[in-house]
């Protein structure tokens, strides 16, 4: 564990907040520069917290981000529709937002009841037995994984899929923050039936191409 070095380098408030938001494992593995970068940038911190809350409460699953106008060329830019920003009505072309569901049980620390207002009217059911025995419907093909990753990341970021070139750096070139990246990876991981990888570091797979290679490797080694 790198706890000692983390304690030396990162202010205790940031450590506490990260621990509350993500748990000990995340703090132990988090990049220290990433943690320090929140010092003195409350806006960034606020966005991260709101994004995280949206992810852990499942709101992101239900509310499609408004689509941004197609940029001529994706330049280093802030993400077009951060979940944490005040949510405006999506343009008429976007699908209507699904009902926002209640926050998860035990979300005391988030201290909000905002998502309670439009309670979902119906429950969801999932039976693992209904799934095909082959856990990876898209097979072991890197190309297919890549295509699915593009769809998921487009949905999470608001970028049109056609601008998501596999070699662009998700954070540096596209401004897609690590929380959205982690969320996209979690979704892909679930779709492909992959278990949690203790050694996985989102920073090691900065592009869609690298992520797809990683997922395809995991899928083929699992099968």
């Amino acid at each position: 564990m790198s706890e000692t070095s983390t304690e030396e380098a990162v202010p205790v408030q940031v450590q506490l907040a990260v621990r509350v938001l993500f748990g000990d494992e995340f703090l132990d593995r988090a990049d220290r520069r990433f943690l320090r970068s929140f010092q003195g940038d409350p806006a960034r911190w606020g966005r991260l917290m709101l994004d995280t809350w949206a992810v852990i409460s499942g709101v992101v699953d239900d509310v499609p981000a408004p689509r941004a106008a197609l940029p001529e060329r994706p330049a280093p830019a802030p993400p077009p529709a951060a979940v944490g920003q005040p949510r405006t009505e999506p343009p008429p072309t976007a699908p209507a937002p699904a009902p926002v569901t209640a926050p998860p049980a035990g979300s005391a620390a988030t201290g909000t009841v905002a998502a309670q207002a439009g309670a979902a009217t119906s429950i969801d059911f999932f039976d693992p037995d209904d799934e095909p025995d082959e856990p990876a419907p898209a097979g072991r093909d890197v190309g297919q994984v890549k295509q699915r990753l593009v769809e998921v990341i487009a949905e999470a970021s608001g970028y049109p899929p056609e601008v998501l070139d596999e070699d662009l750096d998700l954070e540096v070139d596209l401004g897609i923050d690590s929380v959205k990246q982690v969320h996209a990876v979690a979704r892909i991981r679930e779709e492909y039936g992959l278990t949690m990888d203790e050694d996985f570091q989102i920073g090691d797979y900065a592009t869609i191409g690298k992520l797809a290679g990683y997922v395809a490797d995991r899928v083929s080694s699992a099968g």
């Binding site: 509350v20 499942g58 699953d61 049980a105 309670a119 429950i123 693992p128």
Partner: protein, 280 residues
């Protein structure tokens, strides 16, 4: 997780709030014992599906239902689904919890209502809609917490009050269900190391107290889940209306070796360490 306790094969068990935390541990243990488990949560559907899948991959049977047990209509739908799919419910373990952290004197009605609805009314709704599906020998177990009997830092007061209300509901429900042969109990535990502790800003302090002030130390998740299992087997048919503490002896003893000295020393070592190190 597995134990050798008998009497669980093919029982239908609903564990609310089981996508994470203690509920997850209980769901996975029940699944490993041959129960048909209904995993449930209001949020975190990704985790919930993974729990159902992991039970299945371990050779058990499980489904996941995303439903908010704080909402009457969700509970009604959940009951309809259980009836349609399984025809009955043998075991109900209610672990779902939540609420807005707030000092009591600053809490508005909305926060109070929310805490009571999620932690307490949910038990009433579950009993009303799922109780009719329970045969003789059925078990209801409510997961309470130490907040029900002691003030706890971190704005836990509202949830604690709701847990206390639920413990009282457990006693009355046990009385009402007794002639149908259904036992109703609550399980109270200290801080248990799971990822859900991240919701408590004071998690480290809770863990430290649970570890150091209980003569046995803090109970690991498996032991809490096994106690839940025990209370839900026929072995515990005549245990009803109880609040069972799984706390390593914390509530029942004054265990401060830093003040009193080691346990095994005759006289408790009072003289040796009345003044803690570093004071005065």
């Amino acid at each position: 997780m597995r134990t050798d306790l008998p009497g669980f094969a093919d029982r239908v068990a609903l564990v609310t709030g089981s996508s994470r935390g203690i509920g997850r541990g209980i769901a996975e243990l029940f699944g490993g014992q041959g129960a048909r488990v209904v995993v449930n949560s209001a949020g975190s559907p990704v985790d919930g599906r993974l729990v159902a899948r992991s039970i299945r991959e371990a050779g058990g049977r499980a489904v996941y239902v995303r439903a908010d047990v704080g909402l009457e209509e969700h509970v009604a739908e959940l009951a309809a689904l259980v009836r349609e799919r399984f025809g009955r419910l043998d075991v109900l373990v209610h672990c779902a919890a939540g609420g807005a952290a707030s000092p009591i004197a600053e809490a508005g009605y909305d926060k109070f209502e929310r805490a009571m609805r999620i932690n307490s009314y949910s038990l009433i709704a579950l009993a009303r809609h799922l109780g009719p599906l329970m045969p003789r020998g059925g078990k209801v177990l409510y997961l309470s917490s130490m907040g029900s009997i002691m003030a706890t830092p971190g704005g836990y007061g509202l949830v604690g009050a709701a847990k206390a209300a639920s413990e009282a509901l457990v006693r009355s429900l046990a009385h009402e269900f007794a002639d149908r042969g259904i036992s109703v109990n609550a399980l109270r535990t200290t801080a248990v190391r799971t990822l859900s502790l991240r919701y408590f800003a004071t998690a480290d302090a809770f863990l430290k107290i649970a570890r150091e002030e209980a003569p046995m130390g803090a109970p690991p998740l498996l032991k809490v889940a096994e106690t839940a299992l025990l209370l839900c087997t026929p072995a515990a048919d005549y245990v009803t209306g109880q609040v069972v503490n799984v706390d390593g002896g914390w509530l029942s003893s004054l265990h401060r070796p830093d003040l009193f000295g080691p346990l095994h020393r005759a006289g408790g070592g009072h003289r040796a360490s009345t003044t803690p190190k570093g004071e005065r």
